[in-house]
């Protein structure tokens, strides 16, 4: 039972580093209690500057209608387009609505009036969605006016088509629901990726690894003894995350807690294995850090934590296929938010198991007992 002593040694080494042992507890707690509040893609409270060159009752009613909507804030009434554009340049407003001097006249006499919408589209989604909202309000206003001026035409253009929207699992479209599982995955990935990557290489730098190498301990038990502490750390981090999510955000898994622990155990095994591979190849701590940093950050961005995988180009989706994070995140969201059962999760489970086997075999094979 030499493995027992090896594991004991790893735990002692871990506990002796005062910074590390505190970090593992504090880091997930602080990050999960703050960061989900920051992550919100919602397009709302757009700052709109209105240039009303018409000043008629029609144009003023339009402006009032926009001001009453929940999407827009009116930020002053600039006198010219140039001035309004200055506000956009300084990020004081997001959009400009320009009503031409002949608005009322065009609408009543020519039966067709134009208005100009200019949106800051550096953030394309915000610009696009913002102008779609504004166009929607214009269309509503348009329908109102038409009804007033031409009551008969409207009734004939009404049909019995009803479109209703329903948001499953998250009726109020709260972003925290999406972000909390993602940030949990990110935390576990970082801790269970970075720490093992530093493990073997720091023993290389300290020279203690050679003392291990001259013992008859097999490569397999050596790697196993290095994996198990991170496995435990992963469980601790996950448990802290569950607590914070429940305490701060009122989120408790809809599905079974055991399912999440099961998947987490396979995921942590896989990702720590990847960390150990890095540690085997790196000659210095610095190299290990840069390599694992690159791997972790790439997987974080390519696995759909923040932006959906479906939006990526095809090659990006292939990269996400080889990321264990993608499967674990999927499972976290499914079990946490939707309460999916084990049967829905067989595919990601098999994928994660494959990663665990491949990475850890690789870690054992790439470990060199003799230089």
């Amino acid at each position: 039972m030499v493995i027992k002593y090896l594991i004991e040694k790893e735990f002692k080494q871990f506990g002796r580093n005062p910074f590390l042992s505190k970090f593992v507890f504090i880091f997930p707690f602080v990050m999960l209690s703050i960061l989900p509040l920051a992550a919100n893609f919602e397009v709302k409270d757009l700052n709109l500057a209105v240039i009303d060159n018409n000043h008629s009752s029609y144009s003023q009613r339009l402006v009032q209608k926009i001001a009453a909507s929940r999407y827009f804030h009116l930020t002053g009434v600039p006198s010219s387009y140039r001035q309004a554009l200055k506000n956009i340049e300084q990020d004081q407003s997001d959009m400009i609505l320009e009503i031409p001097p002949s608005f009322e006249q065009d609408l009543i006499r020519e039966k067709n009036a134009r208005v100009m919408i200019s949106a800051n589209a550096v953030n394309g989604m915000k610009g696009g969605l913002g102008s779609a909202y504004l166009a929607g309000i214009l269309a509503e206003y348009n329908a109102e006016i038409r009804q007033e001026l031409l009551p008969s035409a409207v009734s004939s253009s009404q049909t019995g088509l009803e479109v209703s929207k329903l948001f499953r699992f998250n009726p109020l479209l709260d972003y925290k629901f999406m972000m909390v599982p993602a940030i949990m995955v990110m935390l576990i990935t970082m801790i269970c990726g970075f720490l093992p990557a530093f493990n073997i290489v720091s023993e290389k730098e300290a020279g203690t690894i050679e003392q291990m190498n001259v013992t008859p301990v097999s490569k397999f038990s050596l790697i196993l003894s290095k994996l198990i502490p991170y496995w435990v750390v992963g469980f601790v981090v996950l448990t802290i995350c569950f607590g914070v999510a429940w305490l701060f955000y009122g989120l408790w898994p809809k599905g079974s807690l055991l399912t999440i622990y099961l998947f987490a155990s396979v995921f942590v095994l896989a990702f720590s294995g990847l960390g150990l591979i890095v540690s085997n190849y790196a000659k210095t701590l610095q190299q290990a850090m840069f390599m694992v940093f690159f791997i972790v950050i790439t997987f974080i961005f390519m696995s759909g934590l923040y932006t959906p995988v479906d939006n990526m180009p095809q090659w990006g989706q292939y990269i996400s296929d080889i990321s264990p994070l993608k499967y674990f995140l999927r499972v976290m969201r499914l079990v946490y938010l939707k309460g999916s059962s084990t049967a829905d999760l067989i595919k990601p489970f098999l994928a994660l198991c494959t990663f665990a086997v491949v990475f850890n075999t690789w870690a054992v094979l790439s470990y060199r007992k003799s230089q």
């Binding site: 509040l37 589209a121 989604m125 102008s131 019995g160 209703s164 932006t307 829905d344």
Partner: protein, 383 residues
């Protein structure tokens, strides 16, 4: 330097010679580790290309399932219209309403379109034809966007069906998308990715290299030299400054020639801004190294501790105006936030240097504060 009195009280010229010797030593350290250098030079390029293309909040190709008990002319036409659109991909037809729950729970689709029975008949003969758009609310951005698009498409179909000709009293909006008319996602994300890469890599490099000397005990040897501690520490930052400038140049070349993100404003001021930002990032690394005693701690703080706030609070992904006030204040102290705003102004909007004076001033004061605090923190005496 064989004049001993010169060693104890160096003249300005002597100081300079010492300084250059220290800088040369640091360059040797870096060039000796070929692997690290390769990683440092190649990693930013790969990251910019990967994330520049992959980060995209614009929703397209969302998988949709349809439950259609009517199977008539109208429902087929609507499904057809949804399908030809870029936003949707028809995943499959459901056979019964019970399946709706299942396809969501297995995570197969983002939206299910449910038609009512006898759809076409009801539509034409004045009854109530109903369409329900059920979206997966676990991704609010996608859910909101695709239901909005789908109802627009359905409304258009309705208009066509009614064959209403020219509608009187029409208000037509003319939409102009400023700075980014084709809504390229890279215009929004490339400045953010630049800000993140520069900050993280600079802070990691400096903090770890100084922490390593502390750990090995060689820092003490440097500090007993006749050179002032300020110069000892600055000499460590100089090579990393050069390395970062090389990275900056490759990053800019790639964003212009590979990602197709133009430099609309002054190239000169973009460089000045970036150099200042590199300096701030290196100073942040100095600060980290001044409070830690081991490489491990330096790495955990600079890589993990900085990575999450920079990703989530700097405005690189998530708009800062959506954050609660307390978090906005937190995001104000992240240098990347100001760099990203300023880069967007100069690079994308093409504004003059006058528009980024605030950001330059903030980054400048951050640099001064960081350098002052970290120098004060450095224990320059042996314990």
């Amino acid at each position: 330097m064989n004049d001993f009195s010169n060693m104890t009280k160096p003249t300005a010229k002597g100081n300079w010679i010492f300084f250059m010797a220290f800088v040369r030593k640091e360059f040797h350290h870096i060039f000796r580790d070929k692997m690290s250098m390769l990683i440092l030079l190649v990693m930013p390029i790969l990251m910019l290309i990967l994330f520049g293309y992959a980060l995209n909040t614009e929703v397209k190709n969302s998988k949709v399932a349809v439950y259609d008990p009517s199977q008539d002319e109208a429902t087929r036409a609507i499904v057809e219209k949804l399908q030809v659109n870029d936003y949707f991909v028809l995943h499959r037809m459901l056979k019964s309403p019970d399946e709706v729950d299942r396809v969501f729970k297995s995570g197969e689709v983002a939206m299910v379109v449910v038609f009512s029975e006898h759809f076409y008949e009801s539509l034409v003969h004045g009854g109530k034809a109903q369409i329900q758009l059920i979206a997966d609310g676990t991704d609010p951005n996608t859910a909101n966007t695709i239901t909005t698009y789908a109802s627009t498409i359905i409304n258009n179909y309705q208009q066509e069906l009614l064959k209403t000709g020219a509608i009187p009293y029409q208000i037509t909006p003319e939409v102009k998308l400023l700075y980014n008319p084709s809504m390229v996602a890279a215009y929004n994300f490339v400045p953010g990715v630049m800000g993140m890469i520069i900050l993280l890599i600079c802070a990691m490099m400096t903090s770890v290299s100084i922490a390593r000397e502390k750990e090995n005990g060689t820092m003490e040897i440097l500090l007993v030299s006749p050179m002032k501690p300020l110069y000892v520490i600055l000499s460590k930052a100089v090579p990393y400054f050069f390395l970062s400038v090389v990275n900056l140049i490759t990053i800019l070349l790639i964003s212009v020639f590979v990602m197709g993100v133009p430099v609309a404003g002054s190239f000169f001021w973009l460089i000045v801004l970036s150099l200042l930002y590199i300096f701030v990032s290196l100073a942040l690394g100095l600060l980290i190294s001044s409070v830690v005693n081991s490489q491990m701690a330096a790495m955990l703080i600079s890589a993990m501790g900085l990575m999450m706030p920079v990703m989530l609070l700097s405005g690189m992904l998530f708009p800062t105006e959506n954050m609660p006030v307390a978090l906005q204040a937190l995001s104000d102290i992240i240098p990347a936030r100001w760099y990203i705003i300023a880069v967007k102004k100069i690079m994308i909007k093409g504004l003059s240097v006058g528009s980024i004076l605030t950001e330059l001033a903030i980054l400048g004061s951050m640099a001064i504060v960081l350098v002052t605090v970290s120098l004060r923190n450095f224990k320059i005496r042996l314990e």
